[in-house]
Symmetry: C2
């Protein structure tokens, strides 16, 4: 039977597996980063980060937030006291800083590329966690470089 076309060998399997594993690892951290980013924003804006405000920004119920926050506390990113505002630890602040920086780079990059601002923001939310440092540098270069879309 004519089975076994053996078309193009796209990528090496191990490399592919590595890619998927990296994606999985990214997933593990990205939700935490999102929370920390939101908490950081709220602290900047209101001086406190309440469960219900976090919930509103992330689009989940307050219960989900409470649960996640306790995991973040376990992992040393935030401090909590019952019925009190959530605050960031030093580590949490550092994660927030890097996260926000990366987010901004991705947004700027997409905007410069011609993506509408709203879409840029939404897409950045998803993309930012999957960008390696090499790619991030490339993004930065592109944003800085003035000679790009120069018709």
């Amino acid at each position: 039977m004519s089975k076994k076309p053996k078309v193009k060998r796209v990528v090496k399997p191990e490399l592919q597996a590595k890619g998927h594993m990296r994606t999985r690892a990214a997933h593990a951290t990205e939700l935490a980063e999102d929370y920390v980013e939101v908490i950081s924003d709220l602290l900047d804006e209101h001086g406190e980060a309440r469960v219900s405000d976090i919930a509103a920004r992330i689009g989940v119920t307050h219960v989900t937030v409470t649960k996640k926050v306790s995991l973040l506390a376990r992992d040393g990113l935030v401090t909590t006291k019952p019925y009190r505002s959530i605050f960031l630890t030093d580590l949490g602040r550092e994660v927030a800083r890097r996260s926000r920086e990366r987010h901004q780079i991705v947004v700027d990059f997409l905007v410069k590329l011609g993506v509408p601002k709203d879409a840029a923001h939404t897409d950045a939310e998803g993309i930012e966690h999957h960008v390696s440092s090499v790619t991030l540098e490339a993004f930065k270069r592109f944003v800085k470089d003035e000679v790009n879309g120069a018709s």
Copy 2:
């Protein structure tokens, strides 16, 4: 006390929530897409897609694959028979096609941007699922457009 700096209002909360919700939705589909893509590749290359090969490419145990495959079958993306190769349904093939197309665009885009091939592939794995159609179009434009890095 001097609390309440009220710095920059970055994004509207509802918009931000929407972004996070979209990211969550993307997560729900992206693993399925990864599997379908891998299965499609294996079918092209060997005429069959075995559990152990899928496991090797994705980097998980064969048990995890078996479980996920049964969910994919439930969702109408693949067909399975015990101890036999997995095949794609029409829907599965369509998903694979679109997925691969998107993947390729992202890879080409990153490469054109100056990201090394290996990193481009790895990053694309994570990024491809979070790219809206608007952004994808922008990527395409950038790849096609010859006047970019033109010094």
